[in-house]
């Protein structure tokens, strides 16, 4: 009698997807991010040039500062929820992890990294946009219609995704739980450091008032931290050999004759 292959998650409930990665959830998450950022882009289209030029005006407070506070709130809640859930549901018995489940977790890790990289893409989108605003309008404060989605929207989102992917690896995959992966640390911490660098960047713009040139030495910090993303190659170089090892072991196990 053929039994349906039942796959259980770490909390012993049947997995929604026996395929290792929940494509609907992944696509839904990417779609959600896209909707959010496209909406912000449209919001900029309607309200940037009309009420976004003067930070002292009451309309600016209504239309832009409220968006900023909303971003803080949503990102804080999302970070606490996602990181808290990842920690709370961590695998407490990695030594007993089945090879098939380990392969699935590697696939899910790739899914998390995909979300991370997708969020970094949106950061890059809003980053070049920042040049168009500040080379036409200059700036009066740190909070401008281009900075609010970039430094306080897209950047925190990719930080949340990056830390989430690292937490997932540390709490669910033995290879990454045993020790800290140097490329993973760099790939997450490097882009994370862009956020403190925002503070330095704004100080520099206030002190030297230089709005004229985008390719200025003051922005070098962002460039250096962007290089850290190259370490994703190192993460894959760590994970792929292990995946192949597991897959070949499983394949041999599947064709091995059962005795007794």
């Amino acid at each position: 009698m053929a039994m349906a292959a039942k796959v259980l998650t770490i909390d012993r409930r049947p997995a929604r997807s026996a395929g290792g990665i929940n494509y609907r959830l992944l696509a839904g998450a990417m779609l959600t991010l896209s909707v959010i950022f496209v909406s912000i882009r449209l919001y900029q289209q309607f309200f940037a040039w009309t009420v976004g030029l003067d930070s002292t005006s009451p309309e600016f407070q209504t239309h832009w500062m409220r968006l900023l506070y909303g971003e803080f709130f949503v990102e804080g809640v999302a970070a606490a929820a996602i990181w808290g859930w990842l920690w709370k549901t961590r695998d407490l018995n990695l030594a007993a992890l089945e090879p098939s489940e380990e392969i699935k977790r590697y696939l899910r890790l790739i899914g998390w990294l995909l979300m991370y990289v997708f969020a970094v893409y949106w950061t890059e989108f809003f980053a070049e946009q920042d040049a168009t605003w500040h080379q036409t309008v200059v700036r009066d404060t740190e909070f401008t219609p281009s900075h609010i989605p970039l430094f306080f929207g897209a950047m925190p989102v990719f930080i949340i995704m990056g830390v989430s992917s690292y937490l997932y690896a540390r709490t669910r995959i033995p290879q990454f739980a045993r020790a800290h992966s140097v490329p993973f640390l760099i790939a997450v911490a490097g882009p994370f450091m862009m956020l403190p660098n925002v503070g330095f960047n704004e100080w520099g713009h206030t002190f030297w008032i230089m709005e004229e040139i985008f390719s200025a030495p003051l922005h070098a910090g962002f460039v250096v931290f962007a290089w850290a993303a190259l370490c994703l190659g190192g993460i894959l170089m760590q994970a792929i050999p292990r995946i192949i090892e597991l897959a070949q072991g499983e394949a041999q196990r599947a064709v091995r004759p059962v005795t007794g």
């Binding site: 990665i21 990289v117 800290h180």
Partner: protein
């Protein structure tokens, strides 16, 4: 029957196709996930690097001169191709590192120029078009696959990358260097565009173009700059080849 029962009682690592024991299917799934992931991460990182190192020269037609643009752009943008070439050739034997980088970069740049520079700030697209690096990237990858040597790729490929940049963009740029008589003043079409679309980078004292001494060896400015660019690109190739080795480390550490 017992074998059949035993075999189907457990998932045979049964990920993308429960019951399948063919690892090739798993590898295909990983490929489909990794290809967009790697393309996006290269695009995002390379674009951030490009916009903050050569952004001004790349954003505006009136910054595309014969001294700074054609030196700064190839020198700064050979970085990621060199690093990614190492990773893709060394680990995967794929000779597409440079082409992947510049294609990803151009995609990000065009999306941004169209939706942001034109769509949001209303600069015309023929003023804010990004430079192309694809011919240089093809040459860099071709030298790698023909020589299978990083040393020769750095020397000959790097030189070609730097030298060809201006000439590869000439079909797009030439029209904007046509002379115009505008209210009695001789200027190029690019200059006129720059004066019509005022930005913080517009005034003559700010635009970093055509500055410097020893501009020619008697007549033309461009070849001097192009070969200088080529030589510096050779150096940058090796520096960033080493960066590629460094950043693709697979080390683990116990404590942070």
């Amino acid at each position: 029957m017992m074998q059949r029962k035993a075999a189907s009682a457990e998932p045979a690592y049964g990920d993308v196709n429960p019951g399948s024991s063919d690892p090739q299917q798993l590898y295909r799934t990983i490929d489909w996930l990794l290809i967009p992931l790697l393309f996006m991460v290269v695009q995002a990182a390379f674009h951030i690097h490009a916009m903050l190192t050569v952004g001004d020269w790349d954003f505006w037609t009136d910054w595309k001169d014969r001294r700074w643009w054609l030196v700064v752009t190839p020198v700064s943008l050979i970085t990621f191709p060199a690093a990614i070439q190492y990773v893709l050739w060394e680990k995967f034997r794929l000779p597409i590192g440079a082409t992947v980088c510049v294609t990803a970069l151009l995609l990000g740049q065009w999306v941004s120029r169209t939706l942001n520079f034109y769509g949001w700030a209303y600069f015309p697209l023929n003023f804010v078009w990004p430079a192309t690096l694809i011919p240089g990237a093809i040459l860099l990858d071709c030298v790698l696959i023909l020589t299978r040597s990083y040393l020769l790729t750095g020397i000959f490929g790097g030189m070609l990358w730097g030298v060809i940049f201006y000439f590869a963009n000439w079909p797009m740029l030439a029209a904007f260097h046509l002379p115009m008589n505008h209210n009695g003043v001789l200027l190029s079409l690019a200059d006129l565009q720059g004066f019509e679309y005022i930005r913080t980078g517009t005034p003559e004292y700010i635009r970093i173009i055509e500055r410097g001494t020893l501009r020619t060896f008697g007549k033309d400015v461009t070849p001097v700059s192009a070969f200088f660019s080529g030589f510096v690109c050779v150096l940058m190739y090796f520096v960033w080849h080493l960066m590629g080795r460094l950043l693709s480390t697979v080390r683990f550490i116990q404590k942070i």
